[in-house]
């Protein structure tokens, strides 16, 4: 292990123009300290004011005979900055400085004093783009870890809220924070998550998918097994339920664990509205999921194999719509589904203005032309459009993507074996979802729970007075969530 020494550090960063290692002469006793920082990551004005001015003009420092005396003085408040500490570990020093901390190296002592005066260009807190609500808070996470933890802390002013700081990535050394409420969360789950994070051995933790893959057990499942959110209020609500949040520096989302499927179907709006309105919206969301998942497959099965499933008038109008179209129903639906995905992908890559034009051109003009040219039937356009739009009703984009991929699989199965194939696909899908385990909680929980009370916040959103207890598998110790007036302790 290397010693803390300015010569070693200067040599280490000799080719990096942004790393500053600069000697500062303190007094007439020839005491010299070395400033070690990264240009662009520090607040220079604050450094000059709080640290540099003290170093040059403090009369007490003039009198210091040794580096130790100088360090002690500076640590006791000689420099006017609150976040000051002594660093003796070389690796930690490097990590701190590279994340924006300023260090004063004392070669003789082989130690450094670090000042946390990080300041770098960052996005301001804005409205959440993915989870915007009509009623409710309008702030969202940004790319700065500390700011994100502060947003959560503002909402949970409990001494039990723990923000465990960790670091991952051999090269990137990305900071991340594990958040939980220590008197509610299941410590076994917390320990398990912590172990998993410590086991992450990766050079650069730059994208969300990397951390997601490390944290989930079933890596081959396309269904999201951890929930992400842009909203601090959502994180705080889940922390209060006993779940654990993970915030990664550089990623403007928080991950919430353990995650169950019904959580991904919930929107913050459900709780901002009257419970009946919230429940209606939720039911529509579930219906949309069924529509997007099964409608294309149902159409293929009904028009290719079991046409008797269709009511008379619907069968006749579908038949008329299909006249003179040279392709099979399966080819039509699968082709159009792929075209739909191409449109979405192209729309994401293009600038907004061009994207809109392209959507109109692709969706309306080409669609209409294809129908007129008898390349596809109008019924298929309606089916695919309906399935596509319904797919975007899901509040979680990962779930939406998973459902979109599943509908392809179901459509192929329906093309191979009609409703029989569709039934097989459904069985496989349900079996798969029920087999997923997420930190000792069933992914399909509470639909598969024996505890009936947990169902109160799934398909329907019951009034808040029914949310008396936390789920057993999430918060096994501290179960009481709220008390109604007049409730006795043992009634809750």
């Amino acid at each position: 292990m290397s010693r803390i020494n300015s010569v070693v550090i200067t040599e280490l960063f000799s080719k990096s123009g942004d790393v500053v290692v600069r000697p500062i002469k303190i007094n007439q006793n020839d005491l010299v300290v070395h400033l070690f920082c990264v240009d662009g990551l520090i607040n220079q004005a604050l450094f000059d004011e709080a640290v540099f001015r003290s170093l040059k003009f403090d009369p007490y420092l003039e009198k210091c005979q040794t580096e130790r005396q100088m360090m002690d003085y500076l640590l006791e408040g000689g420099a006017y900055h609150i976040f000051t500490s002594e660093e003796t570990d070389y690796d930690k020093l490097l990590k701190s400085v590279l994340s924006g901390v300023v260090a004063l190296i004392f070669d003789g002592e082989e130690k450094a004093i670090v000042y946390d005066i990080r300041a770098f260009e960052k996005r301001s807190i804005q409205e959440p783009t993915d989870e915007n609500v009509m009623k409710g808070s309008k702030d969202s996470f940004i790319e700065v870890l500390r700011m994100n933890t502060a947003l959560v802390r503002r909402r949970i002013r409990s001494e039990y809220l723990v923000v465990e700081q960790m670091s991952v990535g051999r090269v990137s050394k990305t900071d991340l924070a594990l958040l939980y409420v220590s008197n509610i969360a299941d410590m076994n789950t917390v320990n398990k998550i912590r172990d998993k994070i410590n086991d992450i051995d990766i050079d650069n933790l730059s994208t969300p998918a990397f951390i997601e893959e490390y944290l989930i057990d079933n890596k081959y499942s396309i269904f999201p097994q951890l929930m992400y959110t842009q909203r601090p209020d959502r994180v705080s609500a889940n922390l209060s339920d006993g779940r654990v949040a993970l915030i990664v520096d550089g990623i403007p989302y928080a991950y919430i664990l353990p995650c169950q499927l019904p959580m991904l179907m919930q929107s913050p709006d459900d709780y901002a509205n009257h419970f009946l309105i919230g429940s209606s919206l939720r039911i529509i969301r579930y219906i949309s999921m069924i529509v997007t998942l099964f409608l294309p497959a149902f159409y293929i099965a009904a028009t290719t194999y079991q046409s008797q499933m269709l009511p008379v008038q619907l069968a006749l109008s579908t038949q008329v719509a299909k006249q003179n179209v040279p392709f099979s129903s399966a080819s039509e639906v699968l082709g159009l589904l792929i075209s739909f995905e191409i449109l979405i992908e192209a729309g994401l890559r293009l600038p907004t203005a061009v994207g809109t034009t392209m959507s109109i051109l692709g969706g309306l003009v080409v669609g209409q032309a294809a129908v007129s040219a008898n390349l596809i039937s109008p019924a298929v356009v309606v089916i695919v459009a309906l399935a596509g739009i319904a797919g975007f009703m899901m509040p979680n984009q990962d779930l939406s993507s998973a459902v979109r991929l599943s509908r392809f699989i179901l459509a192929v199965l329906a093309a191979v074996a009609g409703f029989f194939g569709l039934a097989i696909g459904l069985i496989i899908l349900i079996t798969h979802l029920c087999s997923l385990d997420n930190y000792n909680t069933a992914y399909m929980s509470p639909f598969v729970d024996v505890e009936r009370r947990n169902i109160r916040d799934t398909l329907f959103r019951f009034p808040t007075r029914y949310f008396l207890k936390r789920p057993d598998d999430i918060a096994p110790v501290n179960k009481t969530k709220r008390r109604n007036r007049g409730d006795k302790e043992d009634e809750i």
Partner: protein, 370 residues
């Protein structure tokens, strides 16, 4: 985990193998002619199947519509043979999966209702709630062709008949599943509504009666209504009293109970109903207690007369059109075997007792009370 993958592999193999060896009835929807209406007739030793289907041609693709209706025929020694013949003759494959109406001609009915519909009951695609009608005096083919000549859309006309039927009764008992159920009960007569044409419209006039599954008679409208009261399916029924008052039944409930006493069968019919005054042509006010009581008694007598027509028909002809056999079998399961053997003789000896309660409800009077 290994088991899971093996299971998935087995399922997929099963699917693909079945896909390779058989087409799993794969047929695009535009390659099928959906039959809307099927007529079944008998002529000169052969059964004739006449079907009406939409060809799809002539319909506006984007505007909808079911296209031009076409008629096709098949002939054979049995109804199924005729259906096979029809399939062979047709350009596209045909399907009875969406057939909503089966019309059976008078002559085919005389060969036995079970003969006519047996092949339908064995087809896995047949809609069990499709309706069966009998055509009075004519063959089903003639019935269909006449309406086609007059450019009527026959399945829409039959839909209108179905709607009218639903306005008068609470359920349609002439569904395929119900008729098959009635055929099972050998002791009772099967009754199926019959159609007649009148001024380019199809009309339901009453029930055709099948004895030993062969068409034997047609009931008039009043007798058929009496049967409906027994079945407790009356939704709306007009009552015209001789003193210029027209009433309409709003609600009715019938309970039929059988009593067995030393080979003597007594059937008690309890009918509760409520009517509303629909028309008053006399100048005298009827909205006083005395008059309303008098009208109530008269309307009770009217309904009893209607029901008595049905019971009299049953007694005189010895045909169990009221399904009394099933009633006794259900209500006196242990004793039924004593009556079962001589049932045909016993039908004519059944005593019927009518208990009728009714009331006349308000009639939304505007202006003068009369």
């Amino acid at each position: 985990m290994k088991f899971k993958w093996l299971l998935l592999l087995a399922i997929f193999c099963f699917l693909f193998l079945s896909g390779c060896t058989h087409d799993m009835n794969r047929r695009e929807i535009d390659e099928i002619n959906f039959i809307h209406v099927m007529g079944i007739d008998y002529s000169e030793g052969n059964f004739i199947i006449t079907v009406v289907y939409s060809s799809g041609s002539g319909a506006d693709k984007e505007g909808g519509g079911s296209g031009k209706e076409e008629v096709s025929k098949g002939q054979g020694v049995t109804p199924y043979d005729a259906y096979v013949d029809l399939k062979l003759k047709n350009k596209k494959s045909i399907s009875i999966a969406n057939t909503g109406y089966f019309i059976i001609g008078e002559r085919a009915c005389s060969k036995g209702i079970n003969t006519c519909i047996d092949f339908l009951s064995r087809d896995e695609t047949t809609k069990m709630d499709s309706l069966i009608f009998v055509t009075k005096g004519v063959d089903a083919a003639e019935f269909i062709e006449d309406s086609m000549e007059e450019e009527q859309i026959i399945h829409e006309d039959l839909q209108a008949v179905e709607q009218k039927q639903k306005e008068l009764v609470t359920r349609n008992d002439n569904t395929l599943i119900n008729i098959l159920n009635e055929i099972e009960n050998e002791k009772s007569s099967v009754i199926i509504p019959y159609l007649i044409t009148e001024e380019k419209a199809f009309l339901l006039k009453g029930y055709a009666v099948f004895d030993n599954l062969v068409l034997v008679d047609y009931l008039d409208m009043e007798t058929s209504s009496g049967v409906n009261f027994f079945k407790n399916i009356v939704r709306e029924f007009p009552i015209y009293l001789e003193d210029d008052v027209f009433l309409s039944i709003l609600y009715t409930r019938s309970k039929v109970k059988s009593e067995l006493d030393n080979k003597q069968i007594k059937v008690v019919i309890n009918v509760d109903f409520e009517t509303m005054v629909k028309e008053v042509l006399s100048d005298e006010s009827i909205f006083n207690k005395k008059e309303l009581d008098r009208l109530t008694i008269k309307q009770n007598e009217y309904i009893i007369d209607i029901m008595r027509k049905a019971t009299n028909y049953s007694i005189v002809n010895g045909r169990d059109i009221l399904q009394i056999a099933r009633l006794i079998e259900n209500q006196h399961t242990s004793k039924w075997s004593d009556y079962e053997e001589n049932w045909e003789e016993l039908i004519s000896e059944i005593q019927y007792e009518f208990v009728v309660n009714s009331k006349i409800s308000k009639s939304f009077i505007f202006g003068k009370e009369r």
